[in-house]
Symmetry: C2
Subunit: 109 residues, 2 copies
């Protein structure tokens, strides 16, 4: 089973995209993001991971994505197939993406 690893100072480019969504459309938005990750995004150069989370109150979907470099991220943003899935997702919920660096990680014992 696929496992994503988060480490402090991992030198990856992390994108966290928080979608606001109507609860009735949350499942469909999850499906679009999952299909886009599976069919398109994971095959692109520099892809490390995509992690799709659904809020338990139904009003949010998060895509937590890791890329090898900022240049790899830039490249996919202009990729037509990626843009197509981005448009499908934006038709279902309001995206709010930001690019992050991991500063600190704490785990149990």
């Amino acid at each position: 089973m696929a496992e994503t690893v988060i480490r402090a100072d991992d030198d990856l480019t992390t994108v966290i995209n928080v979608f606001e969504v109507e609860a009735a459309k949350q499942g469909e938005l999850v499906s679009v993001l999952t299909e886009g990750a599976d069919k398109v995004v994971r095959h692109r150069p520099g892809f490390v991971s995509a992690n799709i989370l659904a809020s338990r109150d139904g009003t949010r979907v998060v895509n937590y994505a890791q890329w090898r470099s900022a240049a790899d991220l830039e490249a996919i943003l202009t990729d037509p197939a990626v843009q197509e899935y981005g448009k499908k997702a934006a038709a279902l919920g309001k995206p709010a993406p930001s690019v992050y660096s991991v500063v600190s990680v704490f785990t149990a014992s």
Copy 2:
């Protein structure tokens, strides 16, 4: 070095808290969240991980936290020491927390 693992259907309770922050205060907010995770939160029952990320544009800080169960999360929300750090953080940036389940995970190769 601490490593956080994300798996689909991991049965954890994940809290993603996205803080909006003025760029001049981003470093201080990261420090408060890191200190709170280190001194208080990681010692609480059911703690799995806390991951603090800073947006490269300076305007966001994310705390991606994993708990063993929803009950463990509920318990820390009424913990006075946790609340103290929550207040310090909210004085520096505007928090927007939601509780999530991981639906799907894709990793390279």
